[in-house]
């Protein structure tokens, strides 16, 4: 599982260009910054009010005044800039964040995204997620292709014809990266553009509820250094 997540993070890192301003969700998305191609330097934005997040901090090195949006203590780069929450969300909503990487519970054929609430089960709040996916120029979803139910041992598709959980935003997803493949969200629907060699197109289709168009230019899943 950890290997699969590393694979996804590595593939996702290839989406970043030098100089990008990015916002990475907690968990898998945070791993992306460890795998950036050589020469690609990005500036990470943190919703709680700064640009220039560098990564987590060792016990003993914490600065009580520098936390990330998950409440964890983090390191800041020399070009860090701190601001208030209105400025932070101004930067997000204003299209100044080039890309955001987030996990998802569900994504559908229209690029609709559900990743903030499971009614009756998970109640945390949307935090900055709704603003992020509406405001970022590119929204990349990184996730395991299916939802594994630990109790039953059954896996269920997360890429659906239509989201049935409350959505985080409508039509915002640009790219979906899973351990199996890369899918682009286009006006005509979901386009399978890259396939990992561990899987066949049939495997992917079986694990996906949404209709997938296979790109005539289908390429192997690219995580070469």
């Amino acid at each position: 599982m950890a290997d699969l997540k590393t694979r996804i993070a590595k593939r996702c890192a290839k989406e970043f260009k030098d100089g990008y301003v990015a916002n990475l969700g907690i968990g898998l998305p945070t791993m992306v910054s460890s795998f950036l191609p050589e020469g690609v330097h990005i500036t990470i934005q943190s919703e709680n009010g700064f640009t220039g997040l560098e990564g987590s901090v060792e016990r003993g090195d914490e600065n009580v005044e520098i936390i990330n949006a998950g409440g964890g203590y983090v390191k800041a780069s020399p070009r860090v800039n701190y601001f208030d929450s209105a400025t932070s969300f101004g930067i997000i909503r204003g299209g100044h964040v080039d890309a955001t990487v987030l996990g998802a519970m569900q994504v559908d054929e229209q690029g609709n995204l559900a990743n903030w609430i499971i009614p009756g089960k998970m109640y945390a709040g949307m935090g900055g997620a709704m603003d992020l996916v509406v405001g970022a120029k590119e929204v990349i979803i990184t996730m395991l292709h299916q939802q594994f139910n630990k109790k039953t041992g059954v896996s269920k598709p997360k890429i659906l014809k239509e989201c049935n959980l409350p959505v985080t935003a409508l039509g915002v997803v640009d790219l979906i990266i899973t351990e199996m493949c890369v899918i682009k969200v286009t006006d005509e629907g979901l386009l399978l553009t890259e396939l990992h060699h561990d899987f066949t197109v049939e495997d992917v289709v079986a694990a996906t509820e949404a209709h997938l168009t296979v790109s005539p230019d289908l390429k192997p899943y690219d995580i070469s250094e």
Binding site: S46, E47, N48, G49, F50, E62, N63, V64, E65, I66, I67, A69, G71, Y73, A76, Y82, F83, D84, S85, A86, S88, F89, G90, I92, R93, I117, M122, Y123, A124, G125, M126, G127, G128, A129, M130, D131, V134, G135, P166, V167, T168, A169, L170
Partner: protein
Amino acid sequence: MANKIRTALEAIAGLQDGMTIMVAGFMGTGTPEILMDAIIEKGVKHLTVICNDGGLPRGWYSDYDTPRGTGKLLEAGVIDHIIASHVGLTPLVGQGIIDDTMECTLVPQGSLVEKIRANNFGLGGVLTPTGVGTIAAEGKMQIEIDGKMYLLEKPLRADYSLCRASVCDEFGNFLCNKTTKNFNYLMAGAADHNIIATERLVKAGELDPDTFQHSGVLVDMIVEGEKPWQI
């Protein structure tokens, strides 16, 4: 010149059961702890609290940690209604909703800050693309501008705002270090009574005025005595 300096208890003397307060901070960072303590000491109840989140619960980072920020108010059971963007770190909110002892209104974080700023800065509301087509749009006016749909987010008001400064002068001009800024530069001024609890209090003119990033005209009362959080 009217003196704005108070003790914590003096500053909240007018705070009564059922009032609405704004509490700055992001997961406890940048929250005025001595004002939280004063509220609990005074024993005010049934508060509506506007804040980013539920603060931090007991023992969050180190086992011996007290709750932080609004986490203190939640633990003391003085909140009837919380208006926030994210309450996942404090199980007390989820529990309160299940037990029906607490109401929770969730607002996307960027909209929450604009609603507070709108009230502070005299706007009737702002139009944001955030939340269109989601639960966050429920009950809100939608307006189409040049072919794009927006939600109208109206101002949020409060009786008191409780903010924290790293350095504050006696007029109320203040600054917040690093990521303690968050809601402090928005909430100070957004309520009928605006209180700043500061780590360091200086005389006006003692420091270069450009050091300060928020205007003292938005501050009504100043309380000294905040301490840096100890990890």
